[in-house]
Protein backbone atom coordinates (compact mmCIF):
# COMPACT_ATOMS: atom_id res chain seq x y z
CA UNK A 1 0.00 0.00 0.00
CA UNK A 2 2.76 2.38 1.00
CA UNK A 3 4.62 1.59 -2.16
CA UNK A 4 1.55 2.33 -4.29
CA UNK A 5 1.14 5.65 -2.56
CA UNK A 6 4.79 6.45 -3.20
CA UNK A 7 4.39 5.56 -6.84
CA UNK A 8 1.31 7.76 -7.05
CA UNK A 9 3.11 10.71 -5.45
CA UNK A 10 5.97 10.23 -7.86
CA UNK A 11 3.62 10.23 -10.85
CA UNK A 12 1.79 13.27 -9.50
CA UNK A 13 4.94 15.30 -10.15
CA UNK A 14 4.44 14.84 -13.89
CA UNK A 15 2.13 17.44 -15.42
CA UNK A 16 0.69 14.96 -17.96
CA UNK A 17 -0.72 12.88 -15.10
CA UNK A 18 -2.42 15.89 -13.57
CA UNK A 19 -3.73 16.96 -16.97
CA UNK A 20 -5.11 13.50 -17.66
CA UNK A 21 -6.85 13.39 -14.31
CA UNK A 22 -8.39 16.86 -14.74
CA UNK A 23 -9.62 16.21 -18.27
CA UNK A 24 -10.86 12.73 -17.40
CA UNK A 25 -12.91 13.94 -14.45
CA UNK A 26 -14.42 16.86 -16.37
CA UNK A 27 -15.38 14.81 -19.40
CA UNK A 28 -16.89 12.12 -17.18
CA UNK A 29 -18.93 14.77 -15.37
CA UNK A 30 -20.34 16.20 -18.60
CA UNK A 31 -21.05 12.80 -20.11
CA UNK A 32 -22.92 11.69 -16.99
CA UNK A 33 -25.10 14.83 -16.89
CA UNK A 34 -26.15 14.34 -20.49
CA UNK A 35 -26.35 10.58 -20.03
CA UNK A 36 -29.38 10.75 -17.74
CA UNK A 37 -31.39 12.58 -20.39
CA UNK A 38 -30.08 10.55 -23.31
CA UNK A 39 -30.81 7.21 -21.64
CA UNK A 40 -34.32 8.31 -20.67
CA UNK A 41 -34.99 9.67 -24.16
CA UNK A 42 -34.02 6.22 -25.51
CA UNK A 43 -30.89 7.61 -27.14
CA UNK A 44 -28.39 5.42 -25.30
CA UNK A 45 -26.54 4.61 -28.48
CA UNK A 46 -26.08 8.16 -29.66
CA UNK A 47 -22.68 8.30 -27.95
CA UNK A 48 -21.57 5.31 -29.95
CA UNK A 49 -23.01 6.59 -33.23
CA UNK A 50 -21.65 10.11 -32.94
CA UNK A 51 -18.21 9.02 -31.86
CA UNK A 52 -17.93 6.85 -34.96
CA UNK A 53 -18.93 9.85 -37.02
CA UNK A 54 -16.21 11.83 -35.24
CA UNK A 55 -13.76 9.00 -36.01
CA UNK A 56 -14.66 9.20 -39.71
CA UNK A 57 -14.24 12.97 -39.71
CA UNK A 58 -10.92 12.64 -37.90
CA UNK A 59 -9.66 10.22 -40.54
CA UNK A 60 -10.62 12.59 -43.32
CA UNK A 61 -9.01 15.51 -41.46
CA UNK A 62 -5.74 13.66 -40.99
CA UNK A 63 -5.64 12.67 -44.66
CA UNK A 64 -6.32 16.26 -45.73
CA UNK A 65 -3.38 17.14 -43.50
CA UNK A 66 -5.28 19.89 -41.71
CA UNK A 67 -3.28 21.82 -39.13
CA UNK A 68 -6.04 21.34 -36.57
CA UNK A 69 -8.67 18.65 -37.06
CA UNK A 70 -10.89 20.04 -34.28
CA UNK A 71 -13.10 22.42 -36.36
CA UNK A 72 -13.90 19.79 -39.00
CA UNK A 73 -14.53 16.98 -36.50
CA UNK A 74 -16.65 19.21 -34.27
CA UNK A 75 -18.64 20.58 -37.20
CA UNK A 76 -19.45 17.22 -38.75
CA UNK A 77 -20.37 15.67 -35.39
CA UNK A 78 -22.62 18.57 -34.41
CA UNK A 79 -24.42 18.35 -37.76
CA UNK A 80 -25.03 14.63 -37.32
CA UNK A 81 -26.21 15.13 -33.73
CA UNK A 82 -28.69 17.77 -34.81
CA UNK A 83 -29.95 15.48 -37.55
CA UNK A 84 -30.26 12.40 -35.32
CA UNK A 85 -31.79 14.06 -32.25
CA UNK A 86 -33.87 16.48 -34.26
CA UNK A 87 -35.24 14.04 -36.82
CA UNK A 88 -37.75 12.92 -34.21
CA UNK A 89 -40.63 10.54 -34.60
CA UNK A 90 -42.07 11.71 -37.88
CA UNK A 91 -39.07 11.15 -40.10
CA UNK A 92 -39.10 8.43 -42.72
CA UNK A 93 -36.08 6.63 -41.29
CA UNK A 94 -36.56 5.80 -37.63
CA UNK A 95 -34.09 7.07 -35.06
CA UNK A 96 -32.28 3.84 -34.23
CA UNK A 97 -31.89 2.78 -37.86
CA UNK A 98 -30.57 6.21 -38.86
CA UNK A 99 -28.13 6.09 -35.97
CA UNK A 100 -26.89 2.62 -36.94
CA UNK A 101 -26.41 3.72 -40.55
CA UNK A 102 -24.39 6.77 -39.54
CA UNK A 103 -22.35 4.82 -37.03
CA UNK A 104 -21.36 1.89 -39.22
CA UNK A 105 -21.06 4.00 -42.35
CA UNK A 106 -18.71 6.56 -40.78
CA UNK A 107 -16.59 3.85 -39.17
CA UNK A 108 -16.15 2.04 -42.48
CA UNK A 109 -15.46 5.15 -44.54
CA UNK A 110 -13.05 6.46 -41.90
CA UNK A 111 -11.06 3.24 -41.88
CA UNK A 112 -11.08 3.06 -45.67
CA UNK A 113 -9.82 6.62 -46.02
CA UNK A 114 -7.08 6.03 -43.47
CA UNK A 115 -6.07 2.82 -45.23
CA UNK A 116 -5.91 4.36 -48.69
CA UNK A 117 -4.22 7.63 -47.91
CA UNK A 118 -2.44 7.15 -44.62
CA UNK A 119 0.85 8.95 -44.13
CA UNK A 120 1.68 7.08 -40.94
CA UNK A 121 3.63 3.85 -40.92
CA UNK A 122 1.69 2.41 -38.00
CA UNK A 123 -1.86 2.33 -39.33
CA UNK A 124 -3.20 -0.36 -37.02
CA UNK A 125 -1.82 1.54 -34.05
CA UNK A 126 -3.42 4.80 -35.21
CA UNK A 127 -6.82 3.17 -35.64
CA UNK A 128 -6.56 1.40 -32.33
CA UNK A 129 -5.71 4.69 -30.62
CA UNK A 130 -8.70 6.55 -32.02
CA UNK A 131 -11.04 3.69 -31.24
CA UNK A 132 -9.84 2.92 -27.74
CA UNK A 133 -8.19 6.19 -26.74
CA UNK A 134 -5.13 4.22 -25.72
CA UNK A 135 -2.61 6.96 -25.02
CA UNK A 136 -3.91 10.29 -26.24
CA UNK A 137 -5.11 11.30 -22.81
CA UNK A 138 -1.54 11.06 -21.56
CA UNK A 139 -0.26 13.36 -24.30
CA UNK A 140 -2.54 16.33 -23.63
CA UNK A 141 -1.03 19.79 -23.90
CA UNK A 142 -1.81 22.66 -21.57
CA UNK A 143 -4.04 24.32 -24.15
CA UNK A 144 -6.02 21.07 -24.58
CA UNK A 145 -6.65 21.08 -20.85
CA UNK A 146 -7.81 24.70 -20.81
CA UNK A 147 -10.08 24.11 -23.77
CA UNK A 148 -11.58 21.16 -21.94
CA UNK A 149 -12.04 23.16 -18.72
CA UNK A 150 -13.84 25.97 -20.54
CA UNK A 151 -16.09 23.63 -22.54
CA UNK A 152 -16.98 21.59 -19.44
CA UNK A 153 -17.79 24.71 -17.45
CA UNK A 154 -20.05 25.79 -20.29
CA UNK A 155 -21.78 22.40 -20.41
CA UNK A 156 -22.39 22.37 -16.65
CA UNK A 157 -23.67 25.96 -16.67
CA UNK A 158 -26.02 25.25 -19.58
CA UNK A 159 -27.25 22.12 -17.83
CA UNK A 160 -28.01 23.93 -14.58
CA UNK A 161 -29.62 26.85 -16.38
CA UNK A 162 -31.86 24.63 -18.50
CA UNK A 163 -32.33 21.87 -15.92
CA UNK A 164 -36.12 22.22 -15.58
CA UNK A 165 -36.58 22.57 -19.33
CA UNK A 166 -34.48 19.48 -19.94
CA UNK A 167 -36.65 17.59 -17.45
CA UNK A 168 -39.83 18.77 -19.19
CA UNK A 169 -38.74 17.74 -22.69
CA UNK A 170 -37.25 14.47 -21.45
CA UNK A 171 -40.34 13.39 -19.55
CA UNK A 172 -42.88 14.42 -22.14
CA UNK A 173 -41.88 16.29 -25.27
CA UNK A 174 -45.35 16.61 -26.78
CA UNK A 175 -46.83 17.98 -23.56
CA UNK A 176 -43.97 20.45 -23.25
CA UNK A 177 -44.34 21.82 -26.76
CA UNK A 178 -48.15 21.85 -26.53
CA UNK A 179 -48.01 24.04 -23.44
CA UNK A 180 -45.54 26.59 -24.73
CA UNK A 181 -42.04 25.21 -24.14
CA UNK A 182 -39.90 25.48 -27.23
CA UNK A 183 -38.94 21.80 -27.28
CA UNK A 184 -37.25 22.10 -30.67
CA UNK A 185 -34.86 24.75 -29.39
CA UNK A 186 -33.89 22.73 -26.32
CA UNK A 187 -33.50 19.54 -28.37
CA UNK A 188 -31.14 21.47 -30.61
CA UNK A 189 -29.10 22.71 -27.64
CA UNK A 190 -29.02 19.17 -26.29
CA UNK A 191 -27.79 17.83 -29.64
CA UNK A 192 -25.01 20.41 -29.92
CA UNK A 193 -23.85 19.89 -26.33
CA UNK A 194 -23.93 16.11 -26.80
CA UNK A 195 -21.73 16.38 -29.87
CA UNK A 196 -19.24 18.64 -28.08
CA UNK A 197 -19.00 16.30 -25.09
CA UNK A 198 -18.50 13.28 -27.33
CA UNK A 199 -15.69 14.88 -29.30
CA UNK A 200 -14.06 15.81 -25.98
CA UNK A 201 -14.55 12.32 -24.64
CA UNK A 202 -12.85 10.73 -27.63
CA UNK A 203 -9.51 11.84 -26.21
CA UNK A 204 -10.25 10.05 -22.98
CA UNK A 205 -11.74 6.68 -23.78
CA UNK A 206 -11.77 6.66 -27.57
CA UNK A 207 -14.62 6.06 -29.96
CA UNK A 208 -15.71 2.63 -28.87
CA UNK A 209 -16.09 3.23 -25.15
CA UNK A 210 -17.87 6.59 -25.08
CA UNK A 211 -21.28 4.94 -24.74
CA UNK A 212 -20.10 3.54 -21.44
CA UNK A 213 -19.40 7.03 -20.06
CA UNK A 214 -22.87 8.13 -21.12
CA UNK A 215 -24.87 5.07 -20.05
CA UNK A 216 -23.33 3.49 -16.95
CA UNK A 217 -23.52 6.34 -14.39
CA UNK A 218 -27.14 7.07 -15.32
CA UNK A 219 -28.13 3.41 -15.15
CA UNK A 220 -26.37 2.96 -11.80
CA UNK A 221 -28.08 6.03 -10.33
CA UNK A 222 -31.47 4.84 -11.54
CA UNK A 223 -31.09 1.60 -9.57
CA UNK A 224 -30.81 3.61 -6.35
CA UNK A 225 -32.83 6.82 -6.63
CA UNK A 226 -36.33 7.71 -7.68
CA UNK A 227 -36.25 11.44 -8.24
CA UNK A 228 -34.82 13.04 -11.36
CA UNK A 229 -32.74 15.47 -9.32
CA UNK A 230 -31.16 12.75 -7.16
CA UNK A 231 -30.45 10.57 -10.20
CA UNK A 232 -28.75 13.48 -11.98
CA UNK A 233 -26.60 14.52 -9.00
CA UNK A 234 -25.62 10.97 -8.06
CA UNK A 235 -24.72 9.94 -11.60
CA UNK A 236 -22.52 13.03 -11.95
CA UNK A 237 -20.75 12.26 -8.67
CA UNK A 238 -20.38 8.57 -9.45
CA UNK A 239 -19.01 9.30 -12.89
CA UNK A 240 -16.36 11.64 -11.48
CA UNK A 241 -15.36 8.99 -8.95
CA UNK A 242 -15.18 6.24 -11.58
CA UNK A 243 -13.07 8.33 -13.93
CA UNK A 244 -10.63 9.34 -11.19
CA UNK A 245 -10.39 5.79 -9.84
CA UNK A 246 -9.99 4.36 -13.33
CA UNK A 247 -7.18 6.74 -14.24
CA UNK A 248 -5.32 6.11 -10.95
CA UNK A 249 -5.64 2.34 -11.36
CA UNK A 250 -4.51 2.48 -14.98
CA UNK A 251 -1.44 4.48 -13.99
CA UNK A 252 -0.53 2.12 -11.13
CA UNK A 253 -1.26 -1.10 -12.98
CA UNK A 254 -0.22 0.08 -16.43
CA UNK A 255 -3.57 -0.85 -17.98
CA UNK A 256 -5.27 1.03 -20.87
CA UNK A 257 -7.04 4.12 -19.51
CA UNK A 258 -10.37 3.90 -21.34
CA UNK A 259 -10.95 0.22 -20.73
CA UNK A 260 -10.01 0.58 -17.04
CA UNK A 261 -12.49 3.42 -16.49
CA UNK A 262 -15.25 1.41 -18.12
CA UNK A 263 -14.42 -1.61 -15.97
CA UNK A 264 -14.74 0.53 -12.84
CA UNK A 265 -18.11 1.76 -14.17
CA UNK A 266 -19.28 -1.83 -14.64
CA UNK A 267 -18.26 -2.79 -11.11
CA UNK A 268 -20.08 0.20 -9.58
CA UNK A 269 -23.14 -0.57 -11.68
CA UNK A 270 -23.29 -4.12 -10.34
CA UNK A 271 -22.85 -2.75 -6.81
CA UNK A 272 -25.65 -0.20 -7.25
CA UNK A 273 -27.90 -2.85 -8.73
CA UNK A 274 -27.30 -5.13 -5.75
CA UNK A 275 -27.89 -2.33 -3.23
CA UNK A 276 -31.04 -1.30 -5.11
CA UNK A 277 -32.41 -4.85 -5.03
CA UNK A 278 -31.57 -5.25 -1.35
CA UNK A 279 -33.21 -1.91 -0.54
CA UNK A 280 -36.46 -2.94 -2.16
CA UNK A 281 -36.85 -5.99 0.03
Amino acid sequence: MGMMLEKLVAYWAYPFVRYALAVGVLVALCAALLGVTLVLKRFSFIGDGLSHVAFGAMAVASVLNLASDMPLVMGVTVLCAVFLLGAGENSKIKGDAAMAMFSVGALAVGYLVMNLFSVSSNLAGDVCTTLFGATSILTLSKSDVWMCVILSALVVLLYVFFYHKIFAITFDESFASATGTNAKRYNLILAVVTAVVIVMAMNLVGSLLISALVIFPAMSAMRLFHSFKAVTIFSAGLSVFCAAAGIVVSILAGTPVGATIVTVEIITFVLCWGIGLAGRR
Binding site: F167, A178, T179
Partner: protein, 239 residues
Protein backbone atom coordinates in the same frame (compact mmCIF):
# COMPACT_ATOMS: atom_id res chain seq x y z
CA UNK B 1 -68.70 32.06 -25.79
CA UNK B 2 -66.79 30.20 -28.49
CA UNK B 3 -63.32 29.11 -27.37
CA UNK B 4 -62.11 26.96 -30.26
CA UNK B 5 -63.29 27.29 -33.84
CA UNK B 6 -62.16 24.89 -36.55
CA UNK B 7 -63.01 25.71 -40.14
CA UNK B 8 -62.49 23.61 -43.25
CA UNK B 9 -59.80 21.53 -41.62
CA UNK B 10 -58.09 18.80 -43.60
CA UNK B 11 -55.86 16.63 -41.44
CA UNK B 12 -53.20 14.07 -42.12
CA UNK B 13 -49.59 13.58 -43.06
CA UNK B 14 -49.16 12.97 -46.79
CA UNK B 15 -52.72 12.05 -47.66
CA UNK B 16 -55.64 13.63 -45.82
CA UNK B 17 -57.37 11.47 -43.22
CA UNK B 18 -60.28 13.88 -42.86
CA UNK B 19 -61.45 16.77 -45.03
CA UNK B 20 -63.85 19.64 -44.54
CA UNK B 21 -63.99 19.48 -40.77
CA UNK B 22 -66.09 22.29 -39.24
CA UNK B 23 -66.92 22.56 -35.57
CA UNK B 24 -66.66 24.91 -32.63
CA UNK B 25 -66.33 24.44 -28.91
CA UNK B 26 -67.87 26.86 -26.41
CA UNK B 27 -66.89 27.52 -22.82
CA UNK B 28 -68.09 24.75 -20.52
CA UNK B 29 -68.66 22.21 -23.30
CA UNK B 30 -67.73 18.56 -22.85
CA UNK B 31 -66.82 17.28 -26.31
CA UNK B 32 -66.08 13.63 -26.96
CA UNK B 33 -64.17 12.78 -30.13
CA UNK B 34 -65.09 9.31 -31.38
CA UNK B 35 -63.99 7.31 -34.39
CA UNK B 36 -62.22 4.17 -35.49
CA UNK B 37 -58.45 3.74 -35.15
CA UNK B 38 -56.63 5.79 -37.75
CA UNK B 39 -59.55 8.13 -38.39
CA UNK B 40 -57.49 11.14 -37.35
CA UNK B 41 -58.55 11.69 -33.73
CA UNK B 42 -55.05 12.14 -32.33
CA UNK B 43 -54.01 14.14 -35.39
CA UNK B 44 -56.92 16.51 -34.77
CA UNK B 45 -55.84 16.98 -31.18
CA UNK B 46 -52.23 17.64 -32.19
CA UNK B 47 -53.46 20.17 -34.74
CA UNK B 48 -55.56 21.99 -32.14
CA UNK B 49 -52.52 22.07 -29.88
CA UNK B 50 -50.37 23.47 -32.66
CA UNK B 51 -48.02 20.50 -32.68
CA UNK B 52 -48.87 19.89 -36.30
CA UNK B 53 -50.18 22.19 -38.99
CA UNK B 54 -53.37 21.31 -40.88
CA UNK B 55 -53.23 20.51 -44.60
CA UNK B 56 -56.08 22.97 -45.19
CA UNK B 57 -58.26 25.24 -43.09
CA UNK B 58 -57.49 26.77 -39.74
CA UNK B 59 -57.99 26.61 -36.00
CA UNK B 60 -58.86 29.89 -34.34
CA UNK B 61 -59.17 30.76 -30.69
CA UNK B 62 -61.92 32.70 -28.98
CA UNK B 63 -61.31 35.86 -27.04
CA UNK B 64 -59.19 35.48 -23.94
CA UNK B 65 -57.81 32.09 -24.94
CA UNK B 66 -54.23 31.56 -26.00
CA UNK B 67 -52.96 28.41 -27.62
CA UNK B 68 -50.56 27.94 -24.74
CA UNK B 69 -53.26 28.19 -22.09
CA UNK B 70 -54.70 24.76 -22.64
CA UNK B 71 -53.96 21.72 -20.55
CA UNK B 72 -53.10 18.52 -22.34
CA UNK B 73 -53.14 14.92 -21.18
CA UNK B 74 -51.28 12.91 -23.82
CA UNK B 75 -51.25 9.15 -24.01
CA UNK B 76 -48.54 7.72 -21.80
CA UNK B 77 -45.36 6.77 -23.55
CA UNK B 78 -43.34 3.65 -22.86
CA UNK B 79 -40.44 5.79 -21.61
CA UNK B 80 -42.56 7.32 -18.85
CA UNK B 81 -43.42 4.01 -17.23
CA UNK B 82 -39.91 3.62 -15.80
CA UNK B 83 -38.98 7.28 -15.55
CA UNK B 84 -37.20 8.22 -12.30
CA UNK B 85 -39.13 11.28 -11.15
CA UNK B 86 -41.21 12.22 -8.15
CA UNK B 87 -44.87 13.15 -8.42
CA UNK B 88 -43.87 16.70 -7.45
CA UNK B 89 -41.29 17.01 -10.25
CA UNK B 90 -43.80 15.77 -12.83
CA UNK B 91 -46.58 18.07 -11.65
CA UNK B 92 -44.36 21.14 -11.47
CA UNK B 93 -43.18 20.58 -15.05
CA UNK B 94 -46.72 21.57 -16.09
CA UNK B 95 -45.76 25.17 -15.26
CA UNK B 96 -42.72 25.12 -17.55
CA UNK B 97 -44.53 26.85 -20.41
CA UNK B 98 -45.02 29.93 -18.23
CA UNK B 99 -41.33 30.19 -17.31
CA UNK B 100 -39.98 31.43 -20.60
CA UNK B 101 -36.22 31.64 -20.24
CA UNK B 102 -36.31 31.87 -16.44
CA UNK B 103 -34.38 28.82 -15.19
CA UNK B 104 -36.29 28.15 -11.96
CA UNK B 105 -39.90 28.02 -10.83
CA UNK B 106 -41.27 30.89 -8.76
CA UNK B 107 -43.57 30.78 -5.72
CA UNK B 108 -46.78 31.26 -7.70
CA UNK B 109 -45.98 28.30 -9.89
CA UNK B 110 -45.11 26.06 -6.96
CA UNK B 111 -48.37 27.06 -5.28
CA UNK B 112 -50.25 26.29 -8.48
CA UNK B 113 -48.68 22.82 -8.62
CA UNK B 114 -49.59 22.20 -4.97
CA UNK B 115 -53.21 23.24 -5.55
CA UNK B 116 -53.44 21.09 -8.68
CA UNK B 117 -52.21 18.05 -6.78
CA UNK B 118 -54.72 18.75 -4.02
CA UNK B 119 -57.53 19.10 -6.56
CA UNK B 120 -56.59 15.62 -7.86
CA UNK B 121 -56.43 14.32 -4.30
CA UNK B 122 -52.76 13.40 -4.77
CA UNK B 123 -51.11 15.92 -2.43
CA UNK B 124 -49.83 13.29 0.00
CA UNK B 125 -48.13 11.47 -2.91
CA UNK B 126 -45.92 14.45 -3.78
CA UNK B 127 -42.65 12.79 -2.71
CA UNK B 128 -43.49 9.38 -4.12
CA UNK B 129 -41.88 8.00 -7.24
CA UNK B 130 -44.04 8.37 -10.33
CA UNK B 131 -43.17 4.95 -11.78
CA UNK B 132 -44.25 3.15 -8.60
CA UNK B 133 -47.82 4.47 -8.71
CA UNK B 134 -50.79 2.57 -10.12
CA UNK B 135 -52.04 3.43 -13.60
CA UNK B 136 -54.96 5.42 -12.22
CA UNK B 137 -52.74 7.39 -9.86
CA UNK B 138 -50.31 8.15 -12.70
CA UNK B 139 -53.16 9.53 -14.78
CA UNK B 140 -54.20 11.75 -11.87
CA UNK B 141 -50.68 13.12 -11.63
CA UNK B 142 -50.63 13.85 -15.36
CA UNK B 143 -54.03 15.52 -15.00
CA UNK B 144 -52.64 17.66 -12.17
CA UNK B 145 -49.76 18.61 -14.46
CA UNK B 146 -52.26 19.55 -17.18
CA UNK B 147 -54.11 21.73 -14.64
CA UNK B 148 -50.86 23.59 -13.97
CA UNK B 149 -50.66 24.55 -17.61
CA UNK B 150 -54.22 25.85 -17.88
CA UNK B 151 -57.42 26.51 -16.08
CA UNK B 152 -59.88 26.90 -18.96
CA UNK B 153 -59.54 24.09 -21.47
CA UNK B 154 -58.38 20.49 -21.13
CA UNK B 155 -57.53 18.19 -24.02
CA UNK B 156 -57.47 14.52 -23.07
CA UNK B 157 -56.17 11.77 -25.35
CA UNK B 158 -57.77 8.49 -24.27
CA UNK B 159 -57.44 9.22 -20.55
CA UNK B 160 -58.71 5.82 -19.42
CA UNK B 161 -56.83 3.48 -21.76
CA UNK B 162 -55.17 0.71 -19.81
CA UNK B 163 -57.01 1.43 -16.54
CA UNK B 164 -59.06 -1.14 -14.65
CA UNK B 165 -62.85 -0.53 -14.43
CA UNK B 166 -62.74 1.06 -10.99
CA UNK B 167 -59.90 3.45 -11.90
CA UNK B 168 -61.73 4.16 -15.14
CA UNK B 169 -64.90 5.23 -13.37
CA UNK B 170 -62.85 7.26 -10.92
CA UNK B 171 -61.11 9.08 -13.80
CA UNK B 172 -64.42 9.84 -15.56
CA UNK B 173 -65.90 11.23 -12.34
CA UNK B 174 -62.83 13.41 -11.86
CA UNK B 175 -63.04 14.80 -15.39
CA UNK B 176 -66.78 15.33 -15.02
CA UNK B 177 -66.28 17.29 -11.82
CA UNK B 178 -63.63 19.46 -13.49
CA UNK B 179 -66.21 20.20 -16.17
CA UNK B 180 -69.21 20.79 -13.88
CA UNK B 181 -67.59 22.23 -10.76
CA UNK B 182 -64.61 24.14 -12.15
CA UNK B 183 -66.33 25.06 -15.41
CA UNK B 184 -63.51 23.72 -17.57
CA UNK B 185 -64.04 22.97 -21.22
CA UNK B 186 -63.21 19.34 -21.99
CA UNK B 187 -62.14 17.81 -25.29
CA UNK B 188 -61.65 14.07 -24.96
CA UNK B 189 -60.69 11.34 -27.38
CA UNK B 190 -62.41 8.14 -26.40
CA UNK B 191 -63.35 4.65 -27.52
CA UNK B 192 -65.85 4.29 -24.74
CA UNK B 193 -69.24 4.96 -26.33
CA UNK B 194 -71.24 4.43 -23.18
CA UNK B 195 -69.20 6.89 -21.13
CA UNK B 196 -69.20 9.40 -23.99
CA UNK B 197 -72.99 9.42 -24.17
CA UNK B 198 -73.25 9.51 -20.38
CA UNK B 199 -70.89 12.40 -19.68
CA UNK B 200 -70.37 14.45 -22.83
CA UNK B 201 -72.51 17.33 -24.05
CA UNK B 202 -71.28 17.15 -27.65
CA UNK B 203 -69.93 14.43 -29.93
CA UNK B 204 -67.52 14.76 -32.83
CA UNK B 205 -67.44 11.57 -34.87
CA UNK B 206 -64.62 11.12 -37.40
CA UNK B 207 -65.06 8.56 -40.14
CA UNK B 208 -66.36 8.30 -43.70
CA UNK B 209 -69.21 10.52 -42.61
CA UNK B 210 -68.20 13.21 -40.16
CA UNK B 211 -70.70 14.17 -37.49
CA UNK B 212 -70.70 17.06 -35.06
CA UNK B 213 -73.53 17.88 -32.66
CA UNK B 214 -75.03 17.14 -29.28
CA UNK B 215 -75.30 13.63 -27.88
CA UNK B 216 -78.98 13.41 -28.63
CA UNK B 217 -78.46 14.40 -32.25
CA UNK B 218 -75.65 11.87 -32.57
CA UNK B 219 -77.80 8.94 -31.45
CA UNK B 220 -80.31 9.80 -34.18
CA UNK B 221 -77.76 10.53 -36.94
CA UNK B 222 -76.71 8.07 -39.66
CA UNK B 223 -73.06 7.62 -38.56
CA UNK B 224 -74.21 7.50 -34.96
CA UNK B 225 -76.71 4.70 -35.56
CA UNK B 226 -74.21 2.71 -37.60
CA UNK B 227 -71.50 3.19 -34.99
CA UNK B 228 -73.81 2.15 -32.17
CA UNK B 229 -74.92 -0.94 -34.06
CA UNK B 230 -71.32 -2.00 -34.69
CA UNK B 231 -70.49 -1.55 -31.06
CA UNK B 232 -73.63 -3.51 -30.13
CA UNK B 233 -74.78 -0.87 -27.68
CA UNK B 234 -78.44 -0.85 -26.66
CA UNK B 235 -78.87 2.82 -27.64
CA UNK B 236 -78.94 1.89 -31.35
CA UNK B 237 -82.33 0.20 -31.18
CA UNK B 238 -84.48 2.67 -29.31
CA UNK B 239 -83.30 5.71 -31.27
Amino acid sequence: MIQINCQGLALGYDAALVRGLNFSVSAGDYLCILGENGSGKSTLMKTILGLQSPLEGRVSWGEGVKAQEIGYLPQQTQAQRDFPATVWEVTLSGCQGKCGLRPFYNKTEKEKARLSLRRMDMEHFADRCYRELSGGQQQRVLLARALCAASKILLLDEPVSGLDPAACRDMYEMIDSLNKKDGMTILMISHDMEAALHYASHILYLGEQVFFGTCKEFVRSVPGRRYLKQKGEPYGNDA
